[in-house]
Amino acid sequence: MTTAQTEVPQWRRTSQNPEDRTPVISVRRLWKVFGPKAEQVPQSEELCGLSRRELMDRTGCTAAVRDVDFEVSPGEVFVVMGLSGSGKSTLVRCLTRLIEPTSGEVVFEGEDIRGADARRLRELRRRKFSMVFQHFGLLPHRKVVENVAFGLEIRGMGRGERMRRAREVVELVGLAGYENSYPDQLSGGMQQRVGLARALAGDPEVLFFDEPFSALDPLIRRDMQNEVIRLHHEVGKTMVFITHDLTEALKLGDRILIMRDGKMVQCGTGDELVGAPADDYVRDFVQDVPRGDVLTLRWIMRPAQDDDALDGPELGPDVVVREATRAVLAAEKPAKVVENGKLLGIVGDEEILAVVAGQQGGA
Amino acid sequence: MARHWRAGAAGLTVLGLALTGCVGAKVGDTAAGAKNADGSCGTFNLAVNPWVGYQADAAVVAYVAQHDLGCKVTKKNLKEEIAWQGFGTGEVDAVLENWGHDDLKKKYITDQKTAVSAGQTGNKGVIGWWVPPWLAKAHPDITDWRNLNKYAANFRTSESGGKGQLLDGDPSYVTNDAALVTNLKLNYKVVYAGSETALIQAYRNAEKNKQWLIGYFYEPQWFMTEVPLVKVDLPAYTPGCDADAAKIACDYPVYGLDKIVSARFARSGSPAYQLVKNFHWTNEDQNLVAKYIAVDKMSDEAAAKKWVDANRDKVEAWLK
């Protein structure tokens, strides 16, 4: 039984400059250390600099998140990416205080999360943010619609009203008809849709996703990714997304934060990561990405030279190379990269072919 | 589906009619037991200690109390310690057969004053060392304690560590055996079987398989009617020879088994108290009823009835 197939949307373009609006979430110098007397680690210059092994031997502690700084703008999809042990799951849990941070600041819409008391924290969890988990976390003894309504039930909404809202959301995620089934009667992908619906039902400001599709088959995974993109278009919520899959990160994320061993490595848009990797680790990471799908013309253009014809097609700097390929190759003249009327550079056949064929480009 | 319902309902109705229709003897308001009571007796709490001889006493006394005096008798199966404890709380009115237990008498009669003696039962308790009849017949000199060391090796078992085994039974029974063995300089070790059941089974085995066995036993006991054990003579009892527990070197005294009642019960004036006070019979009487219960497997009620019907005159004497 297949659910309603979601159409494959276009590759997204990088959105507007994220620095424009006030951030929804602001994280400063965040540390999470596990072990005895954890607080002493962030406070000590010396301990901060130790490697994982040295730190363990010296203090018996593990630093899962080390000095992480970032901001999430409203409406953006912010992806945190890393391999296992990089601290990404710990990080996202620190943001909602499912795990208590050791030190640092987490500010949500101007409010200091770490200072919130138990009551305020519950309120925040009920209304402001919700989370979708890797292993779904559904209640097996309740039907789908009851699972979706669970968050609303917690905050005290009446039965009729919450069921109505739950049914709306169930339809939104494409599970219409399965309201009265039990979780163990659904496939993995459908169960995760229930998880998604549950997270959306409370109309939160921010959605957190902890590797939600890692436990699903590749085909289902693709469907679910498209679902998330579609929902983002429709509902426009801010999302913080954790994954270890680079392709997924590039597909979904407006900006991507790469983590390694608890530390931030690089934070930027997809094309920035591919075009200007911060170090060998990132370069290694993005090695297998089809560059043409991620890089924009900004990265491959060259300055205009005197003998260039300047009446070729005009394209914006943020057009993805792949989309520009046909236009540039079909035109006999090189394309102009223009922004706000100003000529930034030229993109000719060689530039395009270099990317598409030779995987060269950028710094 | 409707058909199933109708069939089911019909079937149930038939069954219901059948159940109510046939054999309609109703549960009447028939009172339990003979309630031709003059009401003056009320409830009588009788402790029953866990040996069959006592059970026989209790069967007969309860039977008479119920049928002749109209009492409601509540029997409580308890070990001696717990039974004496119950005097103070009012849960136990009478103990029909007490073997010595000077320690309990001191605690509850003298010190706490919750119990009083109610006279003798007429039974004479004989504790001692006994051997199976085949052994007494095969080696008649074994009944003299001075020959015990001669036969010590024959009594050896896996439990007695190279010495002869002297088998003791239930720990609630008074025993001086450890001191006796030491003070009479016998090459024996006391092995604790732990229960009267174990002791009786050992004797049964010994008689059946012609095994050597010497152990602690007593009369009156129902088992004697099945296997008549033979007593071994220890140095005769003289008053005061058991004053110091560590230096005992004489046989057990003959116990006049007595009855103990709670002080409260004695003051109550209940006819049951009079019955208990007057109750007395012989070792043979008790052994007979005990045999009915243990060997013939009669119920307490049936065994008591049989004896009471055959000994009406004795019973009348108690009721005066």
Binding site: R122 | L19, T20, A32, E81, S158, Y192, A193, G194, A198
Partner: protein
Amino acid sequence: MAAVADTSGPVATWRQKVTRPMAVGAILVAWLVLFAVLRGRQTLTLAAADLTSLHRWLNDVNDTVGAGRDSNPLFLYFFNEIRLAIDHLVTFVQSLISQPTAGRPVPQIGWLGVVGIAGYLSWAVGNWRVALLAVAGFTFFGLQGLWQESMDTLALTLSAVLVALLIGIPLGVWAGLSDRCNKIMTPFLDFMQTMPTFVYLAPLTLVFLIGGASAVITTVIYAAPPAIRITAHAIRSVPATTVEAADSLGTTRRQQLLKVLLPLSQRTVVMGVNQTIMAALAMVTIAALIDAPGLGKTVVQALQSLDVGTAFNAGLAIVVMAIVLDRVTTAAAGRADTARRTGGALVRWRRPLLAAGGIGTAFLVYVSHTYVYAAEFPGDGTAGTHIASWADTATTWLQDHLSGLTNAVRDVITYGLLNPFQTLLTDSPWWLVGLTLVALGAVLGGRRAAVTAAVCVGLLVGTGLWSDGMTTLASTAVATVLVMLLGAVFGVWMGRSALVDRLVRPTLDAAQVMPPFVYLVPFLALFGATRFTAIVAAVVYAAPVAIKIIADGVRNVPESTVEATTSVGCTTWQIITKVQLPVARGALTLATNQGLIYVLSMVVVGGLVGAGALGYDVVAGFSQGQLYGKGLAAGLAIVLLGVMFDRITQAAARRTRA
């Protein structure tokens, strides 16, 4: 953390060179050598009737408590209220099903009504198969001529289980939620389950008087720990991801408990109810010693005249009741899941069927209330008489024909194994044995186990019953070895063959539930009043547990592993010894631990059949006032032995699994 630290430095290299078996061997050799040299010195023997000052002090405490009974406000206002409440409960249930009440010669609900209720309730919480079993079982009681006694036992058991659950489930929830509570409670639970009941029977009647209350409380003390432990385990077993998800939605603790933890732990909690019922039934015969009515009393009384047949008949009724209650509660545990899965059609039928069943049952109850034939079970219980005489004949036959063989076996094991080992333990200086135990604890279980061993050894010396403790220890060790042998043989056999499992398991269940008192007499006839008899009784009781654990362990060895070895060409024996047993190592250690605990719980029963030592001391304490203190000390000694070996074997288990 400590484990990580161990593998560095010079100490580690030495530790790596000396393997565990070598260390154990060295300790044992040292012990034997020193024993030969120092034999007979400082053995702390105490004669059977002797008391230490501790025992005398405990006696005095007991006497003071007893003397103050009528005046102490604690008694008057607290214990008395509890007693009255429980007495009312028991009397009420009894008047419903087993005892004649005011004005009626029979209880309120007669046999037909009870059978009807049993069937209906079993069907409602379980399925029709267990309902049929319940009806058959209950009818069987009547056929045995034991209807009233069975109902008395049922009333007592149900009251006790009710009280145990009322106390146990909330405590279990608390222990499940709070680590600290769990840590504090565990020693108490251990104590309640290992302290021999005999020890607190007499004081209990002092406080709660003789009657239903004492019997119920005795049972509750033994039956509540399983309820508490399993509920705590159930709460902790709720998947962490589900709890986290609920947490992330902003649940309060109360919402989390009511909406997530309790519903998800339901199935396991019902299993806990099952275990509570089984534990309660195990107390039936012991409660009879303080005049509790029911089947236990029949068994105990039959023993006085060595009436094996009657005892067996009553014991069989207890087994049947245990089986019925076990199957019904197990079905109840599974019902919630299965009903949902089979879907809607059956669910639609259920409610009207339940209503119809309810009406039918009410009707049966009415009939049994009014008509004699439905109130008193018809017939004379001839089935029971036949069972009894069959049991008698079988026992006599066994005694006649097997005595030679059984006596020989007894002598071989006693002279060959038990006596030498016991001499080694009792004739060594106490400090030598103590050191050995501590050293073994350290090698097998680590530092904490060694500390526990040291503390237990110290306390054991303090009880004044060291020598008796060593005697009991010898018998216990031999019994455990035999239990493990049986466990290995039958466990592997059952684990490898589903058919054998299905055939043997009912026998094992019956052996665990049959009151030991029932098979004491035949054993006495076969083996005499000896330590060996006590060992055999303990083995019969403890082996089923070990067998079942090992069978489960062997069965859980992954199919793929066994397949791989078969395809390489291993023989059956090689597969068993090289693959299945080693992989099931965890199960073997668990079986040893449980086997030992169960064997220890039979020490007191052993005292009734010639084991002497601690078992006899406890029984004596229960029977004689001046030995009360010694009996209490002996009970503590048994608990100490249990704790020491439980901690050592559990720590060893953790290490072998790691």
